[in-house]
Amino acid sequence: MAAARRIPAYALRVIALIASVAGIDALAGAPELKAGAFSPARIAPDFSLTGSDGSALTLRRFRGKVVLLGFGYTSCPSVCPVTLATLAAAQRKLGAHARDVQVVYVTVDPVRDDAARMKGYLEAFHPDFLGATGTEEALEAVRREYGIAAKRLATPAGSYEYGHSSFVYLIDREGRLRALMPYGRAAADYVHDAMLLLSPP
């Protein structure tokens, strides 16, 4: 038993070294995120906006959870419904782990998206999703911190739409900005990465 305890510490380091040199991530103990991963991860810039639940919404509030942070607006005709439906499917697949994952959706359209409107819209996808809105200046500051593009475009009908960044950030339990999931990835990819970020280091 003593020998069995001695071997793993020594042998596992050797195996991990060989595996990392050979590029075998699974053996090297470094499972890959499906999303694009940042290295080193930095602390996700915090913000204080108005939550769709009526309370002040900060990232600090969700320490201990994995946060999936997206940007969009409730009148979005195509991108946001797809992203939110995918995130809702991922939440359902996560089962009991879903309580440790929080979806936060920040509007790029504060003129139309007040807290009540965001609440109604997001709850149609999943009852636990939270929206965030605020002044144009506050939202622009958040977008700048996260490198989010949002451009207002006039429609022929006299209304307007937004062209906006469509990816979703993954923030770990410690509040670090770990990865970016491109638009169009499957719910299974979100589940895979959320489980990875939920698992102990």
Partner: protein
């Protein structure tokens, strides 16, 4: 062998190699780096282009996009903002054309074309011809 015979044999040999030789394993990452001093060059009016507007990857061969910001200021690079010294590693598992917003390009878009792994002689030939063409143009 006639004078024409040698080049014809050479072409046949190259085509046969391109079609039949297995695709060699190599680094999976296609790396793009923002060198130190890029921001200063841009500020002085030099329109530095780091990322092409179209990037070609191949599943099972080179299917990971790796971006590095070696500059000493944050940079919008590809789809995201990157801190000094930070890297961004994005693996692909499905062959498709992926569109990313990218404010570094005039079009505001960057496309990553991910091709399936070339398995048959014909697809290997086309894959190698495409790589060659992109390298010389």
């Amino acid at each position: 062998m006639s004078l024409l015979g040698v080049p014809i044999a050479l072409v046949i040999g190259i085509v046969a190699w391109a079609a039949l030789a297995p695709v060699p394993p190599g680094p999976r990452e296609e790396v793009f780096e923002i060198p130190n001093g890029t921001w200063a060059r841009r500020m002085s009016g030099d329109p530095v282009e780091i990322l092409p507007s179209k990037i070609h990857l191949t599943l099972g061969v080179r299917d990971v996009l790796l971006l590095r910001n070696l500059d000493d200021v944050p940079q919008v690079f590809g789809p995201t903002i990157m801190m000094p010294g930070q890297s961004f590693r994005l693996p692909f598992e499905l062959a498709s054309d992926y569109q990313f917003e990218c404010s570094a390009h005039a079009s505001g878009q960057m496309t990553v074309v991910v091709a399936p792994k070339p398995r048959s002689p014909w697809t290997r030939l086309r894959w190698r011809a495409g790589n060659f063409w992109r390298a010389v143009t």
